[in-house]
Symmetry: C2
Subunit: 269 residues, 2 copies
Amino acid sequence: MQMVRRAAYGVRPVTSIDDSDPLFIQSIGRAAQVMAVFHDAAKPLTLNEIATRCGIGKSAVQRVVHTLRHLGYVERAEDDRGYVPGIRFLDNTLDYLRLNPLIARASPVLLELRRNVRERVDLSLRDGLRLVYASRLQSKRETFFATLVGQSVPVYCTSGGMAVMAHLDDDEVDDIIERSDRVPITPRTITEPDAIRRQVCQARDNGYALALEQVLVGEVAIGVAILGHGGRPLGAIHVAGSLAEWEADVFCKRFAPLAVEAAGAISRL
Amino acid sequence: MQMVRRAAYGVRPVTSIDDSDPLFIQSIGRAAQVMAVFHDAAKPLTLNEIATRCGIGKSAVQRVVHTLRHLGYVERAEDDRGYVPGIRFLDNTLDYLRLNPLIARASPVLLELRRNVRERVDLSLRDGLRLVYASRLQSKRETFFATLVGQSVPVYCTSGGMAVMAHLDDDEVDDIIERSDRVPITPRTITEPDAIRRQVCQARDNGYALALEQVLVGEVAIGVAILGHGGRPLGAIHVAGSLAEWEADVFCKRFAPLAVEAAGAISRL
DNA sequence: ACGAGCGTATCGCATAGCGATATCAATACT
DNA sequence: AGTATTGATATCGCTATGCGATACGCTCGT
């Protein structure tokens, strides 16, 4: 399996700081911008790097970082060179997960599913053009990134995303396809609009979606949508395995029904 | 096993908003205060609840929440009543985990450890008086809370905490004991300073710490410190099992050496 | 049908945050 | 070793900005 290069796909850039909105507090927007800079950072960043990368004056960054540091949202790097995000974010993430009723009720279902399939089981939630992994249960052998909560993948080309799109109107699907920047992640990533639409249709027929090496080379994944109020898809369950161990159709026959059942148990129409 | 009641133990309250610090940006502090309100919330909160709970004017809260909402750090609750933390925090948590070299290099080691022990394996990082779980690998049967990244436990009474304290000076240990509010979490939680000190001494001798039902009834846990620059303990590895399955000393004999080895592989003196 | 409570909007004033600049410390370079 | 470069910290005046107080419309619950 090949390492995923980027930290996250389609991470929404900080919602454009809206100057016209009189309610929007600029300082908080700045803080968010500063934190967002780390989304595509591979190492700790200095004040100047932060300043240039987000087009804010150095003084402002100085005070923002100072403040965030006091609050625990930014830390100095291990070797005292530059800054990294702080541990305090984990507290807020915990609150997010705790207070999300979907995740709470999904948890036992996922654990049960995991017990039965003995492959990787994930729960992702939709956020615009991407699915964000909110809960991950590892299989025996895993990579570092496959254990990380917060990882996100595009809707338009992944098993979960297909499953989600299967429950959206055609024009919503088209909208997603159009607005996504469809750069192939693996050689087999589907980027053609028509091919995507065909996959979506197939997912509508089956009640689940199958994806081959869309994000990770050598990976086969099944996605099933989780539905909320009025049948709107909120996210998806994924079961993922290795093509080295499984024939795609065997994988599918064996695990799709279980995944569908699990997703049904979590959905609340 | 008994459900953990509080969301997190010893979560540091938002570092007192320092009025005297001229560099501190008040608005960001307010935003942090607002987010911190969710730490001890069991349900979505309304604007008024947030306002009263953090002693800020209603108008301020209104704008802060409005802003945070635009940024994705706050969402409306599922049923459109009240607010909850937003999914955007997952992005920052991911950056935190990604950019933390300790976690990155720990990951394969933990997976290997997990493979060998087949019990729950956790990695926690120290943040003041608490250990925050940063990486969690589940065993077969788990509770919801045992899967959550961001959960935190007190240093003074847990296996990981004992292991950490074993690498601190006596006065630092005393300081931790003193500053912790030592409310028993289970009936067997050790809260007596002398008893704690004895446990720490034992951990010093053994190179690991054993904890029985300190946080969860029916749980046995081994903690081993992870050391950084100059031997300072940065966090700990935990191996946790059920007393229904294991005799404490058997558990210990069997897994302690493996945990110690793993911790050694992660440490960087 | 009515009231309580929640979210939204407006506006003037005072303050809080930004830009520009300077200083000190530590690392990189020759 | 001496210097140049880059990073972090500090200061200060001006103006934009965020807060308080208040008022309005809306949806629930009884």
